[in-house]
Amino acid sequence: MGIVLRLFYWQIVDASSLANMGISQYEGIIEQQPIRGQIETSDSFPLAANQISYLAYANPKLIKNVDVASKLLSSTLKIDEASISGVLNANSDKLWVPITTNVNNDTKNEINKLNLDGVGFEEYSQRFYPEASLAATLLGFVGKDANGNNQGYFGLEGYYNDQLKGRSGEDIIIKDAFGKPVFAKLSNNSTQQDGRSLVLNVDRSIQFLVERALKNGIQEFGATGGAALVMDPKTGAILAMANFPTFDEASYWNYDQSLYVNPMISDLYEPGSTFKPLVMAAALDDDLITPTTTCPICSGPVSVGGYDIHTWDDKYFPNSTMTDVLIHSDNTGMIYIAQKLGVDHMIDSLNKFGIGKLTGIDLQGEVSQPLNPPNLWYAADLATTGFGQGVVVTPIELLDAFASIANGGVRMQPEIVKQIITPEGQTINIPPHAINQTVSPETAKIMTEMLVDVTDKGEASWARIKGYRIAGKTGTASIPENGKYDASLTNASFVGFAPADDPKFAILVILNKPTVDIYGADTAAPIFFEISRDLFRYYNIPPTNNDN
């Protein structure tokens, strides 16, 4: 009777817990961490990948001689011997103590050869950037969230974190009587999934040469920093995005947080004369002016709203045509055009160019400053907006607007990522996306010819590349500090696209506070042309002019 009762208890009452005990003896669960997706350039080179790294740990109870072990580990791990022995002695009663992370495979093998008791390694996947700090602000970095899980911050790592991070899961294994796995995997229902990878529109070679040209330019002209952006105007694809100063993603914690912010999308600045083509194009499109319309107020400074507005060099050209106004970068001529547009048309036109709006670029941290409503505009605001002061944009906003002129008036959404690759190998294409028509194709063509004249005859003509038709405009914008403009502090810039007849690229270069020379024509323009020269060669674009 007792046996029967006992059997009833085991088989019925306690059946499930006994079954679970049995399962736990022969089944084990391994948590599978996902591998974060890679970020590759358009020419298939990884800018962000994952490498195997190790955490070195010690079991102090198994270490026979702490001093000997510390000395051996110190020389291999390149850590101070006292630090290691201090950790081991302070935790002599513990079974597991971390010594250091970021141990590579070679170092691990060296330590294993020492046959030290009580020293082991835990493998983990660590984000690594083969090109060091190339495109750092574009990429962002991987840190930890509040739960200690990997989390992308800023740039692409932040914006696409949900795609890149994947999902952890569990695998069930069968163990033998000694606890060793017999079958490595039993379950087909693991929820683990590696992250998706990104393929960018960014070209590694173009990114490299842009960063090199920009870095050299900043040093040469004594600027505090700078930025350069290259875009395909026909698709909105971002081919390169560079800025200095920057940081190293692999050791981001050693840098000031202000460097994590991408100035291309997060810094607002007054664009100065690089804004003039947009205002000019708006007036052309509204049939308010033609390229040969003459300016009746360009013979001297113009008084608006109690302010006297001068040209940048205090030189005046009476009866300038509109093309001349651009060539001379004449502020008074732009005031004439702005006044012809009027506040309402100015706002409408700039809105069509995307000024005051987010571009929707796929990066974390984009900002924009909406334009004031018409009732808040003064006469002076209309005038200064005409020549790009008193209005603020981000660099991506300006280039996206300008690039529409190169694309028959069609403004494209700027895009960094062109494909997303799933772990199963499926490719998700991100096609180009047209936002709107900023000006008519005819206006875009007229504007292009005017801008070619600017490059050939304007103040940056000394730096232009002979034999190529390049449409461009210089910019030298005073920087407001403490409520007033300091004439010695400028953002020097140049914006343009080439070849003018079939644009392959549009470029914006900005130097912050250059000291050797404050003007865009003398600083940003040479950098622009240096990048253009490299791109002509890279794309095998032959010269079109017999212009020697």
Partner: protein, 93 residues
Amino acid sequence: MKKYILLTSLIVIAISLQVVKVIYSNMFTTTGIDLNQLLTQEQNLEQQNIIISDQLYKKTAYTNIEKEAIKKGLSYNSNAAIAIDGNSPIALR
């Protein structure tokens, strides 16, 4: 007599089935161990593949090539004048 033969047969059958069960269990276990060793080898090879890929990425990074070019004198002192050409390797012409 018949009862003894029947009982003996049942015992023999039972023992034989147990022996067969043990033999097949051992075969499964052995195969499982072999499979596990193969899977471990596969994991090791995958790991080596990752390590070699990482080394390859580092060696072929433009930033590394530029550094090496400067060290070997294949560039100007202040600039690495690298000509970027889709058809040519990166080097000073």
